[in-house]
Point group: C3
Chain length 310, copies 3
Amino acid sequence: MTIQFQKDLVNINDLSNEHIEYLFKVADKMKATIENKEKGVLCEGKILATLFYEPSTRTRFSFESAMHRLGGSVIGFSSTEGTSVSKGETLADTIRTIANYVDIIAIRHPNEGSARVASLYSKVPVINAGDGGHQHPTQTLLDLYSIQLRKHQLKGLNVLLSGDLRFGRTTHSLSIALARFGANLFFASPPGLEMPDYIIHTLKEEYNLTPGIANDIREYIHVSDVIYMTRVQRERLGEMEYLQYRGSYVLTNELLKSAKPDAMILHPLPRVDEISKEVDDDPRALYFEQAYNGVPMRMALIATLLGVEK
Amino acid sequence: MTIQFQKDLVNINDLSNEHIEYLFKVADKMKATIENKEKGVLCEGKILATLFYEPSTRTRFSFESAMHRLGGSVIGFSSTEGTSVSKGETLADTIRTIANYVDIIAIRHPNEGSARVASLYSKVPVINAGDGGHQHPTQTLLDLYSIQLRKHQLKGLNVLLSGDLRFGRTTHSLSIALARFGANLFFASPPGLEMPDYIIHTLKEEYNLTPGIANDIREYIHVSDVIYMTRVQRERLGEMEYLQYRGSYVLTNELLKSAKPDAMILHPLPRVDEISKEVDDDPRALYFEQAYNGVPMRMALIATLLGVEK
Amino acid sequence: MTIQFQKDLVNINDLSNEHIEYLFKVADKMKATIENKEKGVLCEGKILATLFYEPSTRTRFSFESAMHRLGGSVIGFSSTEGTSVSKGETLADTIRTIANYVDIIAIRHPNEGSARVASLYSKVPVINAGDGGHQHPTQTLLDLYSIQLRKHQLKGLNVLLSGDLRFGRTTHSLSIALARFGANLFFASPPGLEMPDYIIHTLKEEYNLTPGIANDIREYIHVSDVIYMTRVQRERLGEMEYLQYRGSYVLTNELLKSAKPDAMILHPLPRVDEISKEVDDDPRALYFEQAYNGVPMRMALIATLLGVEK
């Protein structure tokens, strides 16, 4: 297949549906190499820089595992502790320098737009590993891939997103991406933490999609093929509201009695208490498998951007 | 040789004497590959996670060196700085996630029992790299291996453990392990820092071993085949006691005049001043060699738990 | 070519001109392997320890990239956070221990002389990656190499060093090294930040070189083949002096009108504002290329000290 990728992945919209479907196929191959315990060779001699200006152990580990599984090497930092950031250098200069040392960069930065800046100044591919609340496109890719793997298509699926949809901003790009693939959306969140209007507006205007909206997860759980849970930070709600709405966005075995027998429960992790531990033993609980899928998906992305994927 | 290992190494008692003797033989082979400067290939394509929730440079480096010498890769963290620990995730969830990214885990954690928890939730092997004061089984393994290498057997050896035997808890599992192999034990410690009664009791009841006990290293130094020094933290004793007992647990060339000519001086390191620098030139001073032995022993353990050792 | 290197590189004066010219040739070969995207194999099975007792992301990354490009592995720390330094161990003991785990060590330490101490206690080669303001010999090597690559010889070149020449101490060893190769030197610095007398004295007495000295970069810019910029820390000057001298040591396109068309602009990085961003687009701006050259030069050094370079 001949399909042209941009140099970088900063925003999920840098990828067309065709790009994403192509990555699904490459990730399938990567997954097979992991499971066959084959030693990766595609990235032998290549170096990934993981520049994590704010901590994110699981995302960093997932990228680093992906690069090692491809046979490549990794250099990086996991917080600005132990870096020269304090010496007053601009991000542009840091990136221009580090791009001389490596073949590809994954950057996590607290400031929105920083990954775009990095991509502009880097001569090697840059992958956005999260820039503030703005974008986290590899999370979106692995979410989509996890659904695709189990359901074999995204079109027509009923996907329920639950929790803090206002500040839990990875749900924003996931919603848009799911809409692009023709999924149906349902949003359940406590009052005050609803999906922002501009997302609702975009879904309607651009994808002709009117999502179902509720303040209680129970309203749509029985029709959902995918139940995507996110955290509600207690401090976002008053104590009264927290106690009042607790039951409507904490997933329990009791609640799951009304869910479809083949529903998928996903969560970007880390979870705090929005999924009861008892749910972990339910075969529909697929959030750790979802984390696992991040490795082959990131392998696919790295290999594709480096042009070593055959 | 066909011998079955458990998935994990959490407690030195997870290993029988036969297991330990098997690891000695594998470590011998690993040591030869290092010394022949052969490039390791047994763990090519495998990834070790070093999860160090508290700092321990030498233990972490020893594990990482071992994995690299086997041809494998490493991802990890060296303190909770730069991790997502603050996000409120349980250890169980962290481990279940990371087990998706790697083939084997080494964990160091300040809380007793945490390595056992990790082993229960991990689908890949877990090695305890120290959990609080509880257990540090790879230190015990490398201590035993260091003695074995020089003395060729543990049975019947006179081993003197000196220093803070109360809080220096790696001496506890070492004592039990040495008793299992039939060594004779001598304990020298300042008053108040003696080996706990339950260890003395276990040695008597389970191994029919009555250790020699003294407050002065000089009492047993002349009969010892192995002199195992540990640190006495000044703050554990009053200033008067510290000055009074200083001479009885600081190893000097003067003191070593009464030691056997083929005695081995060991120390888990780091040492502060319990071994005078002048002793470093004594051919019996083997504590840096002991640190070196940690690499082939950990190579043996990693390769064996991964099932790649032939 | 048969040329004998010392075990370690602590001070640039550990290397003769012949050693340095030999490293230029090896670096050329390394540069070719990078640019041909060949997988390095010279250091397969070898381990580098990067012991960074103070942060320096770019130097650490450059060393780690070099070792990975050679096919080797890296273990290390990037600050004393997450290490056992607090346990009171001496540097000598730390080095003696770590030398058991690796094949070569790069050390960065805030205290002058610490790299020499490390070299004395290490059984494996030690490279000084900066010890306080004292020495940073690999920076000097890459500076020389960057000039050599473009100008093909150092003898007879006019090199202007500008900025804080008093506290910016990497300029000291660079000046001596350039004098050793027969370059002509010009120093431009604000009053109070001039090159120390003992350097001027050494240049005259040992190399019969009388550098041109000015308080304004404009005095010598037109005759310079190399313009080596360093940072002036605002706090080193009073506010009045800062404003007064600003224009004389901030490189701008306006200033560069008087520079030679084939001049090279270098900077050890990070830069703050002593080179205007507008200059980055000038083809004479070679400071990012200079950073790039650090990788092949450090590859050459590591491979040579390990004796694996053919």
